[in-house]
Symmetry: C2
Subunit: 239 residues, 2 copies
């Protein structure tokens, strides 16, 4: 296993979600002084082609900018790379092939977190972009474990998810949160016992409106942050 020396965060998708992920790393760290914190280099360069548009066939691929970020993070001494954007994992294989530092896969880590928890839900709701839903990472991992997955309909995505996400991206957290909360209501009504908030814009948006669904939610960004902090402490303890 590669020694965990420095975490590279491939962010920018979006800028707020990238900050939220850093906040989660800080919150998960038991530190007595500056030097105990996880060393991080963050690539928060949002001038990158829109992922949802690219996957819908309506715009250019973000792959060239993602590859530039992976190269930059490797040059900056990253021993591991986390991508706090679910949809960007569509290009995971190409990025992993171009990186000396291993890339942590957000869906692997989230599924593992749910399967290891004391309460195992029979059905989970999945709030994600069309691209993440189409990729099927979460569905495959949950189905394999016998967990039913409740996904949004195309109509629900268009009415609540897409405008909710883009509201967050322009800084309207509360507006976005209200829309996303309506989608969460629907998935719970269809039998989901837990919600996987598999788009990094969703947790801060639901938080800003004090959504009652947060307590029944799994935040893949938080799961990823927790694993990064644990890996750092495990490597660091060896010093």
């Amino acid at each position: 296993m590669t020694e965990f020396r420095r975490l590279g965060i491939l962010g920018g998708m979006g800028p707020l979600a990238t900050l939220d992920f850093q906040q989660k790393i800080l919150a998960a760290t038991a530190a007595q002084r500056d030097q105990d914190h996880v060393p991080v280099v963050v690539w928060n360069v949002p001038q990158i082609a829109d992922r949802q548009q690219a996957l819908a066939g309506n715009g250019p691929s973000p792959l060239p900018q993602l590859l530039e970020a992976v190269k930059g993070l490797n040059q900056a001494g990253a021993s591991h790379i986390a991508i706090p954007c679910n949809t960007a994992h569509y290009w995971y294989n190409e990025l992993a092939a171009a990186s000396a530092a291993p890339l942590l896969h957000i869906a692997d880590i989230t599924a593992q977190t749910i399967l290891e928890a004391s309460f195992r839900p029979q059905a989970v709701g999945l709030i994600a972009t069309q691209g993440t839903l189409d990729a099927g990472w979460y569905q495959a991992r949950f189905s394999q474990a016998g967990i039913r997955v409740v996904i949004p309909t195309s109509d629900e995505l268009a009415r609540w998810f897409v405008p909710g996400c883009y509201a967050v991206k322009r800084g309207d957290l509360r507006g976005g949160g209200q829309l996303l909360n309506l989608l969460a209501d629907k998935l719970i009504a269809r039998g989901a016992q837990k919600l996987v908030l598999a788009c990094t814009e969703v947790p801060p948006a639901l938080g800003s409106v004090g959504s009652r669904h947060l307590s029944d939610s799994i935040d893949p960004g938080a799961a990823l942050a927790n694993v990064c902090v644990r890996m750092w402490h495990q490597s660091h303890a060896a010093f």
Copy 2:
């Protein structure tokens, strides 16, 4: 003037202050979509020698790690570098000499912000580390403009400032905020009309305890963030 293409943030001092600075950049940005935000690469590597200890002659210099960060940010394409840590500006000249990207000086920008404001105080209080106070950047700039500077005594620094800062660094924002608020009380009592919170740990700590002094405070980190966003928009408008 160098075109503003990408901001490098030399952070890590401390990790929370580095996040707070990124939050200030986001808050100062009028953005409609991801791609409108300031492109940022953040070096948040806190494994760096303690600045206060080094300046007190009690520990090694952080200069080697600061130079590594400057090199890394230049390699990552930074056109400008901001350092959201007042004390680290002690090594400003050495860092600027080693950097192709210009380094923005936090005290220059803060003094300029105060001198351009509609209300010009007759006396400002300065909350800062012994290193920043000794360096005299803020005092020189304010004295030149005829503004009296109220600084903490050694006793006040030892009782409230130092333990307050280190509380923030271990994650105890409220504990730190209570101590720092007592110091703010003293400077106001000695005639300061505005407080310059010239240590990046101070604003989030005072915020966490809802300090009444925040409304009379100037936050150098916010001033620096505002200037970065303005420079980005000025360059970006030309595209």
